[in-house]
């Protein structure tokens, strides 16, 4: 249902090893919305992605995160995944010996629980998703992210996104290191996963992915805070002028 509140972050403060990274963040994502989060390296973008998924290294020192009305911070990472949150990792981890096909089946069963498709339907969904993303069948016999090129890793993340059918997808620099063809394929996958009942948070350095995946909102982050929020045109301004004009400490 459109307009339903998916994610509500209030006054979020996050530290890692006593260094504060996020310094009072507010964000609301509703069904049907696509938010882009832009900022330079070290601004805290990936920290937000990891905190949403529940990485144990980060400590929330203040603020709240609600996901579909539930307190997200009380949930374990796998509970978040099962509740409908998906993170496309900036650095997907290799698991030697774990076959892609087997892993996808197990993950879909874990995430979608009772609603997981049976063997035959899963196979059909998998084939469709692999075709969408132009992924070869042989891929299924390889080991998870083991020896994958940068582009293959990102494609595999989006393949998992399509099969997980999350309510909120967080994409952490999924566009980094992709050539133009791969960027188009990956964008196609992101768009295919989006419905008017889902939300999306795209974390990126560059405006170019936003040519393919249209954001409804754009947020600029500097030093762990949003300094400006606007529409799709804000991303174009940033592409032209850089971030410095938005920095409250220098202006």
């Amino acid at each position: 249902m459109a307009d339903q509140m998916i994610l509500r972050i209030k006054n979020l403060h996050v530290s890692i090893e006593d260094t504060e990274i996020l310094r009072g963040l507010d964000l609301e994502i509703k069904a049907g919305e696509t938010h882009a989060l832009m900022g330079r390296n070290g601004s805290g973008k990936s920290t937000l992605a990891n905190v949403l998924m529940g990485h144990p290294a980060y400590e929330i020192t203040d603020g709240t995160i609600e996901f579909l009305g539930e307190d997200l911070t009380e949930m374990e990472p796998w509970e978040r995944a099962r509740a409908g949150l998906f993170l496309s990792f900036q650095y997907p981890q290799a698991v030697p010996g774990l076959q892609v096909g087997n892993f996808l089946r197990k993950s879909v069963q874990a995430i979608r629980g009772e609603n997981a498709p049976g063997a035959r339907d899963f196979r059909a969904e998998l084939n469709a998703a692999m075709e969408e993303l132009d992924v070869d069948k042989q891929f299924l016999g390889r080991y998870v992210n083991d020896g994958f090129s940068g582009g293959e890793k990102k494609r595999f993340e989006i393949l998992q996104l399509l099969l997980s059918k999350p309510t909120l997808s967080v994409l952490d620099e999924t566009d980094s290191g992709l050539d133009i063809d791969a960027l188009q394929t990956v964008s196609k996958g992101i768009n295919a996963a989006a419905t008017d009942e889902t939300g999306c948070l795209i974390i990126t350095h560059y405006q170019r992915i936003l040519d393919h995946v249209k954001p409804s909102h754009v947020h600029i982050m500097i030093d762990g805070k949003f300094v400006k929020t606007g529409g799709a045109d804000l991303a174009i301004q940033v592409e032209e002028k850089g971030y410095e004009w938005l920095n409250p400490d220098t202006n």
């Binding site: 529940g54 144990p56 290294a57 796998w78 995944a81 981890q93 010996g97 197990k106 874990a110 998870v144």
Partner: protein, 470 residues
């Protein structure tokens, strides 16, 4: 009740830890002497040469000191006087599953043996305590002349064949435990595959210790005649008692020219069983021997499957995994002796240690001076799951011929938080994530197993990961 609780504390949750009431027709007093050895032989009506070799082996065992390597402090804890050396729980070997006494059948039913047999196994020998209680072989194999018997029956029915090969690969004086086994052996499998016969499906034996303080000393002899092939699979379990048991087997394989033998083991003894086993093969010209060896259970395992590459062009492979949990030490590895030219060998060893467990790889590869153009490949990987656990590698290479090409790789890795987090983000609990990583690490081994064993091993490792998260 008290004993069971105590036992569980000693070994943790053990899936095969149920035990039946002990119900024996014959149980020897604990302890070992020449008289016990002669009594075992007399009871079995053995030929004199076998009695003599038992007695010689006993005397060697009695005089031979404990090994001065491996886990010496654990070895010193073995009380040979507290062990029962022979126990007979059923009067005869049965040929139909229905004829096996109920409690024994229940045990094997719980282990899933008869279903497994019906599905895909060519034949099965189930050994319960000392003697095989159930044995079958598919009729077509019998027609092809394949002999698959328990070792006692093998000696009775084919004394000349047994006499020709017994103790030729592992002499009784090889080590203290091969001497002990030769003195008191009972049960095990005897297999002969005639020339050119290919046994298409794996044959299986299942060993189980039920009684307390029980020693199990099976003796297995497999002869694959020229150009034949066979895959033999064994699995082992023991119930959970608070006192220690000893399993000390000897396995001898003979692969005659052009023959192929694969011997797969998954041992899951409970964590109070000493598992001290000598496994060795001779590979003649162009023969291949493969040991696929999984060590999941036991308190202390010392086992180094070996191949003597005696004939030109022979090939050996040893693929092994070891899992060492709390209180466990898996001291395992492989030994290959290249005695002939153009022989090749491959060793892949993978070990996981967790909760203070200790895994050791102990390997030896020898290439004789006259053996030209040999190839040796050794890979050992260790995965350590926490800071209390330990992994050691003791590789030895003695290469006396300069034309040998040898490669050796070793790695030690830890499970990273980011790896676990990645899998958790895909809906898997922390325990499930660890199981996925661990099973992935073992995959090069698991894929070599028959499907049913592979599934079982994956489940076992998932159980080992449960309740482990602090």
């Amino acid at each position: 009740m008290a004993e069971n609780t105590e036992a569980r504390d000693a070994v943790g949750d053990y899936r095969y830890g149920f035990h039946d009431p002990e119900n024996h027709t014959i149980r020897f007093d604990n302890g070992l002497s020449e008289k016990v050895v002669r009594d075992i032989s007399a009871l079995k009506n053995e030929p004199e040469w076998m009695t003599e070799i038992r007695v010689k082996a006993y005397n060697h065992f009695a005089n031979r000191p404990m090994p001065t390597w491996g886990n010496m402090s654990m070895l010193e804890e073995i009380d040979f006087e507290a062990i029962t050396y022979f126990l007979k729980s059923s009067d005869q070997t049965e040929n139909s599953w229905d004829d096996v006494p109920d409690d024994i059948r229940n045990t094997f039913d719980r282990l899933g043996i008869p279903e497994a047999e019906q599905k895909w196994l060519s034949g099965v020998t189930a050994q319960y305590e000392s003697e095989a209680v159930y044995h079958s072989i598919r009729e077509d194999l019998e027609e092809q002349g394949v002999i698959f018997l328990d070792m006692d029956s093998g000696l009775k029915e084919y004394p000349e064949l047994v006499k020709k090969w017994f103790c030729t690969v592992v002499p009784y004086a090889d080590n203290k435990f091969s001497a002990l086994n030769t003195a008191v052996w009972s049960g095990g499998s005897f297999i002969y595959v005639p020339k050119g016969v290919h046994v298409e499906m794996p044959v299986q034996a299942y060993f189980r210790i039920n009684a307390k303080n029980m020693g199990q000393f099976e003796r297995t002899l497999i002869i694959a005649d020229e150009g034949s092939s066979i895959h033999y699979v064994e699995g082992c379990t023991a119930p959970t008692y608070s006192t220690d048991s000893l399993h000390s087997a000897v396995v001898e394989l003979i692969a005659l020219p052009g023959a192929y033998i694969r011997y797969s083991t998954v041992q899951n003894w409970s964590a109070n069983v000493y598992n001290l086993v000598t496994k060795r093969a001779v590979a003649h010209e162009n023969a291949t021997v493969e040991w696929v060896d999984g060590n999941i259970g036991s308190k202390l395992t010392m086992k180094y499957p070996s191949v003597i590459l005696k004939g030109e062009g022979a090939h050996a492979e040893v693929i092994s995994v070891a899992y060492s949990g709390k209180g466990q030490h898996q001291d395992a590895g492989a030994k290959i002796h290249h005695l002939a030219s153009n022989t090749t060998s491959k060793i892949l060893s993978k070990s996981i240690s967790k909760d203070g467990g200790r895994g050791s790889y102990r390997g030896m590869v020898q290439v004789a001076r006259k053996a030209e153009n040999c190839k040796v490949n050794v890979v050992c990987d260790a995965l350590i799951l926490d800071k209390d656990s330990r992994s050691d590698t003791y590789p030895t290479m003695e290469i006396a011929n300069p034309t040998c090409r040898s490669e050796h790789e070793a790695s030690v890795s830890k499970v990273s938080d980011d790896q676990v987090f990645y899998l958790m983000a895909r809906g898997h609990s922390e325990e499930e994530a660890l199981a996925l990583i661990v099973n992935g690490f073992f995959e090069p081994f698991t894929r070599e197993l028959p499907m049913e064993y592979a599934v079982e091993l994956n489940k076992l490792m998932a159980l080992e990961m449960e309740g482990s998260i602090g």
